[in-house]
Subunit: 722 residues, 2 copies
């Protein structure tokens, strides 16, 4: 393999051009904030008045200027190193970023640091990896005495903090832990009743009862209501009989099933005998505890056929299996009966009136998985951005003639790849913290409004964040070139392990439709005078404002003060969302008459997904702006403000077509937004090292030799044996 390059010699033509330099104007009053090499070019500042001076001072940084030194090539680089660089206090920044559960995270990380036998080697085989993951999990619970299960319901923020730290040790381990405590354990706690908790809590907690969450079937993933496994009640023996009626109903991708699971929560249609002509009645999908392996011998129990799903793209430390049931009998008590129960004589009782309501209640209890994935995904994004930024600061390639080579992070293209991503990592950090907080409140209060809000918020953030992280992991690999391709530098395994975050716990495309559906419901409620849930509040406040014609004067404002005003940024995001919402509602209404509900929805699907994305971005920005505002330390606040501005303006620029189409932004303003975005990229680059330090990731978490804070290359050569 090799990397080739040809000199950019044609470029020399441009330095030989005979045009005269454009006129420059000096602006005496704002020297204080300026680099001595800077001045102002005509084009971006046609009129200079006292009033506009401050605005100008801010925006003229866009154009670094004519050199007094003999070496003009270095000017931009000098700029990059000195000009306008914010001072960042890493300690105060990382203190602000730390959650209140940092202690337990540190304890976990120190435990694994102290145990080289529990660290996952690069290139481990699937079978070794599975056994190692089990050993890691057992050691966590029994040796480090960290028992996550109790926090699943009682302190979700702590539970998610544990999974974040565990995921940073090995993503497979994080998922294995999630399967055990959040999916299998969570189904028992959330869908069962006291008797289930009494019987299973300790065994799940101390890993005596490793278990599975057997929902997905070969033919049905997203469409859970289409599951075909049956659980038929037999009043004679007071048992349910679990059956796989056809190959499409084989439970597939079931974590912990291939090797370690002793129990499974099986989702199946509850079939009750009736006295009418149909003889049976389908009560919809319910959850049942089914023992699948002998607790002592680990032999598969009679009537159950288990096969190994085999190698996956990633997460090969998790033993996914496929299960077929042939008349497997379980006691009636094994129905997880919180939302619906069957009496000894086969009568069905429930506090909820319809199948759909019971189904919704059941799935609603499982929303914690999405919260966890969104939160964990931000963790992987931070690790990846940290590695890419540190290496981009270390790596030097090319440079001005007769000068040392420059850091690749000094290239505009590299800034363009990594700085908006760094900004997004901060944005997502605050948004998912908010989500965890809301989810924790919900688990305490069970307020209906809050439940709906957390449901849509978790769907939107899980889908948005995991899609973004997945793309970013690839971008980071590319940005780190050949050395990014070494397995030891992490991008490959992070990407492969994280990839499925986009699919499990709700396929992202499906989740985004739920967000859109929820927005449409809110929109309807608004017209019917109902209340809006918290996250959606802006729609009520502003729908009318937003949907009037854009103000043609504001559409031309282009000063940096205006563009960096959170009000302008949030207004722009929300305007886009409101407009998309109003228009898709109209289209749906129109198409539903000819195509029916399903057809109309499908006809508007891309539009609906865009709406959901736009809304989620609005929520993220709002939370970021709040976080900037609430930051107590002035220097950290200034740094966060810079990052937040980049986040906002980069998004506006990326969808500039929409804004231009409706004249929300005039051509001059579009140009100013683009210019300011590039400038902010450059400014964020100046503090990029400090910003990734702000994530405060221990070296045992980043691990990649190319990201080491000292002697990265030496550690890399040492790694392969030099």
């Amino acid at each position: 393999m090799t990397f080739m390059f040809k000199l950019l010699s044609p470029l020399l033509f441009f330095t030989l051009s005979e045009d005269k330099p454009p006129l420059k104007k000096k602006i005496p009053r704002c020297r204080k904030n300026m680099n001595p090499n800077q001045t102002v070019e005509d084009e971006s500042h046609p009129s200079i008045t006292a009033a506009s001076r401050r605005i100008q001072c801010l925006s003229l940084h866009l154009t670094p200027l004519p050199p007094s030194q003999p070496s003009p090539q270095l000017n931009m680089l000098t700029c990059a190193k000195a000009a306008n660089k914010l001072e960042v206090d890493k300690v105060s920044l990382s203190t602000y970023m730390r959650g209140k559960n940092r202690d337990i995270q540190e304890k976990i990380i120190e435990f694994f640091e102290s145990r080289p036998d529990l660290q996952t080697p690069v290139g481990v085989s699937m079978n070794e990896h599975r056994e190692l993951c089990m050993r890691q999990l057992v050691a966590l619970v029994r040796e480090a005495k960290i028992k996550p299960f109790r926090y699943v319901v009682d302190d979700p923020a702590k539970y998610f903090a544990i999974t974040e730290a565990i995921g940073s040790i090995d993503v497979s381990l994080g998922i294995k832990l999630g399967v055990q405590f959040s999916l299998w354990g969570g189904s028992v706690l959330n869908l069962g009743t006291e008797k289930h908790r009494d019987k299973y809590f300790d065994g799940i907690d101390n890993l005596d009862y490793p278990g599975c969450f057997a929902m997905t079937e070969l033919h049905h993933g997203s469409n859970v209501q289409g599951l075909q496994t049956t659980a038929t009640f037999d009043p004679v023996t007071d048992e349910f009989i679990i059956d796989t009626p056809n190959d499409g109903a084989i439970k597939w991708w079931i974590g912990n099933a291939a090797v370690h699971g002793k129990f499974a929560t099986v989702f199946a249609k509850l079939i009750l005998p009736t006295h009418d002509s149909k003889k049976v009645s389908d009560m919809g999908v319910h959850a049942f505890i089914v023992p699948i392996r002998d607790s002592n011998t680990l032999q598969t129990l009679p009537g159950i056929e288990i096969h190994d799903c085999g190698h996956k793209v990633g997460l090969n430390g998790v033993d996914n299996g496929a299960l077929r049931f042939r008349s497997v009998r379980i006691p009636r008590d094994n129905l997880l009966n919180r939302f619906g129960d069957v009496s000894q004589d086969g009568k069905y009782t429930s506090s909820l009136p319809t199948i759909n309501k019971r189904f919704a209640a059941m799935l609603g209890e499982l929303v914690g998985g999405r919260v966890g994935l969104a939160y964990a995904s931000v963790g992987f994004l931070k690790i990846s951005v940290t590695i890419a930024v540190r290496y981009s600061l270390l790596r030097q390639q090319f440079g001005p003639p007769e000068q040392p080579e420059v850091s690749i992070l000094d290239y505009q293209s590299q800034q363009h790849k990594l700085m908006p991503m760094l900004a997004s990592s901060y944005a997502f950090h605050f948004a998912t913290q908010y989500l965890v907080q809301k989810y924790s409140e919900m688990k305490k209060m069970h307020d209906e409004q809050l439940v709906a809000d957390v449901h849509a918020l978790s769907a939107g953030l899980k889908a948005y964040v995991t899609s973004y992280t997945a793309k970013s992991l690839s971008t980071c690999r590319e940005a780190c070139g050949g050395h990014g391709y070494a397995a030891v530098n992490r991008f490959g395994s992070l990407r492969n392990d994280h990839d499925i975050f986009q699919t499990f716990e709700g396929d992202n495309t499906v989740l985004m439709q739920q967000v859109a559906a929820d927005l449409l419901k809110q929109y309807k409620d608004k017209f019917q005078g109902g209340t809006l849930s918290v996250t959606w509040n802006y729609l009520r406040e502003s729908m009318n404002t937003y949907l009037s014609q854009p103000n043609p004067i504001i559409a031309r404002w282009e000063s940096a003060d205006h563009l960096r005003d959170p009000k302008f940024q949030l207004d722009a995001f929300r305007y886009r969302t409101s407009r998309l919402l109003q228009s898709v509602a109209a289209w749906l209404r129109k198409h539903s008459k000819t195509l029916g509900t399903f057809g109309a929805w499908n006809r508007c699907l891309n539009h609906l997904l865009l709406l959901a994305e736009s809304h989620t971005e609005s929520v993220i920005l709002a939370k970021f702006i709040e976080a900037v505002h609430n930051c107590p330390d002035a220097r950290s606040r200034a740094a966060l403000k810079l990052v937040c501005d980049l986040y906002a303006l980069d998004h506006i620029w990326n969808d500039i077509g929409t804004y231009r189409n409706v004249d929300y932004v005039a051509p001059n303003k579009a140009k100013a937004i683009h210019k300011l975005t590039e400038y902010l990229c450059f400014q964020v680059r100046n503090i990029a090292g400090e910003l990734v330090d702000g994530f405060d990731l221990p070296a045992s978490v980043t691990r990649a030799p190319i990201a080491m804070q000292s002697e990265a290359y030496a550690q890399y050569t040492h790694h392969i044996g030099f």
Copy 2:
């Protein structure tokens, strides 16, 4: 793992709305082409005249219409299955797509089909994989008697066809083959002279001499001129002494080095003794043949230290290693002396006057690697799209109430993910065929203009295609949900193996800069009255036209006939390129005065990359339009035209902001482009199965159980043991 879904119940609101249906107009004359359920809605067709009838007939298909059946939900789906579906003759389509080297490809594929012992198992360990790849390569050459080396120079099209077929067996094998014949072998043929050919040809050809291409160093990948390894001439012994002066100069990522290589072409600075005060003179980077292992024992030779680069993200069948040289002596004859030679008394001779020219000539000879990667990348894109499309046709999930579930390819969102990708696969197929043809001509004719053209074209297509394929492999995995995550379904290994295609043989970001630099050179030549190379010709023809103000009347044209006119499409692509070129030239000229050449280039880097991308897209579209035009079979031509229209309009829509900003496209036209793009997606979906069949990939190439043409699910369950 699980996939959850919540009913889209809020949507029901929209079908209950009380608004009256909008007026419809029936258009009597164009019934022949219409679905009986279709009619025309007001909004898109304000005036109906005889003249515009045909245009309307074409464009009104955009709105499927009020049902005569009792089940409106099925309308869209019925549409999807019957309406306006083109008839595609698969045989004539695949015949048109086949290259003239199909025979040898079939021979290779049949050979590996007949040898299960040579097929790479899923989850193979790195060491086993490396040995397997060597065995595969040896079997190809010695048992199947297919000897690719002779075609590297004599029949490049045949060589690339072989690598495509070999890459479809195992990407690692394809790269191992490329290292041996194209890099190591190619360096001997292209940089050496007759004596080298005589001495090494047979050994390379029959694999007695496995070799390496040792260019990249730890500190230098893209910047080849920055290499630090030295080759110092010792006139006393008539030898060169190869040295690694520091750790940064360790040769890194060298394929075949960790295990199998016996020789390496080492790129090093040629140092000659002089009689002046400096004592030595650096003649720039040259290539030298260095034996690295004993031919019989395979023991590493004295003075050479080799370490294993270890696990990579992918391509673990290739044994990449790192080499350090300590005063390793090689005979003077081992200098590959085509572009520069050293006499026994240490005098340097060359037909080329400067270090830069020699360097450019040397790298210019290595451009074949890029051609091969672009070509191979399209092959992986085709495999991936085929798997994703076939599975999306098979997989059903959700559906209208009380109706069977629908194929996931019937969802607009899935069409949006996969149909433009399918269109791009076709577009890239024709573009890379053209590249291979030009490259083959270049190898025969050595015309200077052609060399420059192929250089820029290969840089642009390699970068553009591999970046696109890399993203698409991820998109395909997501589009196939959980089953896309099974290793056996290919997306993981394809992505991991292909990933580095974006980096090796020239980092894509660097290559795109070469394209931009070349365009600027052409732009300069234009103003100096020079000739333009073939690919760039459109710039001369059209720069003036394109850069005048857009025609405000055409900017409003919105008929399907106009939008599907190749002239409109190509004009739009070229307009964008020309505009970007003109503006970046002006910015570079301006900034170079203050920032110097290097600083100005960096200041405009994002703009330059956009220019290169835009130009490459223009070339791809032009070749696609030509290919449509040249297709002899009318039905295949109609299908290709549809696909080409989608390719063109999807791109225009994706950059609609640019077109709107300069009023090249008026708002009504932008809307029409969007609508037509969605319609074309839907139309391409209707023949998606036939289009992937057109790639004519044998089942042993696609391999993924979920993509099997019969009983895909059964093959998948069978695979894991049911």
